[in-house]
């Protein structure tokens, strides 16, 4: 018999994740009432900032995270694993050169920064994590490590 570890969803664990409960509540509301959240914020890149949906799948040998992050360059995306938390960050700076005709106009800089942290399940091969970016979707493959084998500890009787 195998005991299944109580792990409802390793991803959605607001209390223990760094993103915090409030962020998760905000996101929940944004998902439930998208019209409302777009009313709150102005600006075009603005209403998109910070929010991107994530899916988590489980496979025989791995967990797979998919994140929709449209319009980034590969070098603008970064992944970090620390203390069992995976952080996905996208940071993009676009400089639109003003029209040559209109010399007065400044160089417009548009900045976009998004970030999200996910609590990872246990027993992963952290050095074997792979990521790919295609069609604006980031796919992170997190291979599972072999189940921790029960260890026998010999007791020396003296």
């Amino acid at each position: 018999m195998k005991l299944i570890r109580y792990h409802n969803s390793p991803l959605y664990n607001p209390a223990s994740s760094y993103t915090g409960l409030r962020d998760e509540m905000d996101r929940l509301f944004d998902v439930a009432f998208p019209a409302l959240s777009s009313l709150q914020r102005d600006g075009f890149f603005g209403d998109w900032q910070g929010e991107f949906p994530i899916d988590l799948y489980q496979e025989k040998d791995a967990f797979i995270v998919r994140a929709e992050l449209p319009g980034f360059r590969k070098e603008d995306l970064s992944l970090e694993v620390a203390d069992g938390i995976l952080t996905v960050t996208g940071h993009q700076k676009t400089e639109t050169k003003a029209d040559k005709k209109d010399k007065k106009a400044d160089v417009a800089t548009q900045e976009r920064r998004v970030s999200r942290s996910i609590t990872l399940p246990e027993h992963l091969k952290l050095d074997k994590i792979e990521a790919a970016y295609e069609n604006g979707v980031l796919t992170v493959t997190l291979p599972k490590s072999e189940e921790v084998k029960p260890r026998q500890i010999a007791i020396d009787v003296k």
């Binding site: 969803s9 390793p10 991803l11 959605y12 998902v31 075009f44 209403d47 998109w48 949906p53 994530i54 899916d55 988590l56 799948y57 489980q58 496979e59 025989k60 967990f63 797979i64 998919r66 929709e68 992050l69 449209p70 319009g71 980034f72 360059r73 029209d99 970016y133 295609e134 069609n135 604006g136 979707v137």
Partner: protein, 126 residues
């Protein structure tokens, strides 16, 4: 009636009908053109249809990803929906010259202004 003719062809398509949502988008105006940017993550070139039909400009994008066998969803946020965006074009746009570009899930549509509406200088003779 109008509504009926619009919904029927979609409902009768052989592929499973899926919910279509309006993607995030913005429209900018330059001297030469209107530029539409839409976020369509998960859509590749083959699954994107951009068409100008009479008055309407329609963008339809299908999220191509389907989880391979053996993948169990643990947690899902990405909507299982396609993208649809419909705009009504007026005579300010040169419909013949609409250009589309898709990079990493971002669609950029360039809708050039018709010659008739571009600012024009009129020379006075005599």
């Amino acid at each position: 009636m109008n509504l009926l003719t619009k919904t029927t062809p979609e409902a009768s398509t052989p592929t499973a009908p899926r919910r279509a949502v309006r993607p995030w988008y913005e429209v900018r105006e330059t001297e030469e053109a209107f530029i539409l940017t839409a976020f369509l993550p998960g859509v590749d070139r083959s699954s994107l249809e951009t068409s100008v039909d009479g008055e309407n400009l329609t963008v339809f994008g299908r999220r191509v990803f389907t989880p391979p066998e053996g993948w169990t969803p643990v947690y899902r946020e990405i909507p299982q929906a396609d993208y649809r965006l419909v705009f009504e074009l007026d005579n300010r746009i040169n419909r013949e010259a609409v250009k589309a570009e898709l990079t990493q899930g971002v669609l950029t549509l360039t809708l050039p202004k018709a010659e008739a509406v571009k600012p024009r200088r009129i020379e006075i003779k005599g």
